[in-house]
Symmetry: C2
Subunit: 201 residues, 2 copies
DNA sequence: CACGATTTGTACCGAGCGGTAGGCTTGGCC
DNA sequence: GGCCAAGCCTACCGCTCGGTACAAATCGTG
């Protein structure tokens, strides 16, 4: 980060990262295919040629916007998982996820899910990008829980991979619920139930 | 079901319900907005004017196709929940859901989720239809688990509504995973973990 | 076997899509 | 202050979208 070195020529009238965040919001709310160029440029406050000269294409714009979104998501996930025990790590992950899904400074739900689970054949790459992002988050979970397994910190008979998949699936299901208007409290109550699965028996 | 009473005029060359199922598959694979009229008519084996004279519009076609899909889903869910205990009902629900999400006689995942979580503003109704369908399934779960609560069949400190939301969210998360290629076994392993939450303590 | 009713197929419509050409504007630099 | 690189903006491109007009084809019925 930091200011770009200014070269000759007319300077940009917009900040690239600010504008990417605005684009992410539109993709988030309407999905990749439902986000028209007019909606995007309108929300970004720039016009079409600026968008194309800066980002190249709608798909590349999406990738840039999603990368930014995804990096902060993974960072939040990793931070949550720094808790000392597997139980606390999972609880922190699920609680912060539920909060994020229902925060009011951005659209409800999760860009990785709303962006485009199913697309027309020519946009199939978009679904793959999103799936790869979700898989990366799940990998971070697997990593953390594998460590827990080595430390004897998992309940008997529970594998790290299955537990990670369970946690991730629940969080994605909460994203679906949040997109349909579920409240923070409703999701947290579901987390309460889920955590029972992580207690030793 | 049963043959329509034949009236005067040229008879239809296709069966309405067969053709609806084909349409559902296309919506399922590509989402509402990703399913073009050409893809739909191609898969349905009929041409555009036949589609419009029979179903009226793309949106009405989707509603008819989704209704059919949703009815069978709810029927399967209710059948699974006829098990005598809450635990068995939830297990049957989640296992049959995981099987359905990865069956190979139709696209992976769930039409209620892939159809269009996020749409362009003019198709916002589609997201609402899908959300209403998912809510109906969740209501069936709430109903069954409320009965369990009255029968003292729920673990202490677990509410029917929260438990239903948890089960439904997990199933929707599995749909997201399945759409990205998760296998039946991977989902079932996640169910194994989830069921621990339903055991008494 | 002609008539009216209904479906089918071809060929088309306006609108909006993602993407671009080219002239105007704004700055750094000598 | 004149030159020129880079960004901005209006207006446009071809294409595909969802949706339709119209005529040929196919049935029950008199």
């Amino acid at each position: 980060m930091g200011t770009e070195t200014q070269t000759a020529g007319r300077p940009r009238a917009f900040d690239e990262e600010t504008v990417l965040d605005r684009a992410a919001e539109v993709f988030w709310r309407h999905g990749y295919e439902g986000a028209s160029l007019s909606a995007l440029t309108g929300a970004m406050g720039i016009n079409r040629p600026s968008l194309y000269s800066t980002f190249g294409s709608k798909e590349q714009l999406f990738r840039r916007a999603f990368d930014r979104y995804h990096e902060t998501q993974v960072a939040k996930a990793r931070a949550a998982m720094e808790q000392p025990t597997a139980y606390a790590a999972i609880e922190a992950f699920l609680r912060s996820s539920a909060d994020g899904l229902t925060a009011d400074d951005h659209p409800a739900g999760c860009l990785s899910v709303q962006g485009g689970l199913a697309c027309s054949p020519e946009n199939a790459r978009i679904s793959e990008v999103l799936a790869a992002g979700r898989a990366a988050t799940e990998s971070a979970l697997v990593e953390r829980l594998s460590r827990a397994a080595r430390e004897g910190d998992l309940p008997d008979g529970v594998e790290a991979r299955s537990l990670a998949r369970f946690v991730m699936a629940l969080s994605e299901g909460h994203a679906v619920h949040a997109a349909a208007g579920a409240s923070r409290e409703e999701l947290q109550a579901s987390v309460d139930v889920a955590l029972r699965a992580v207690l030793p028996r």
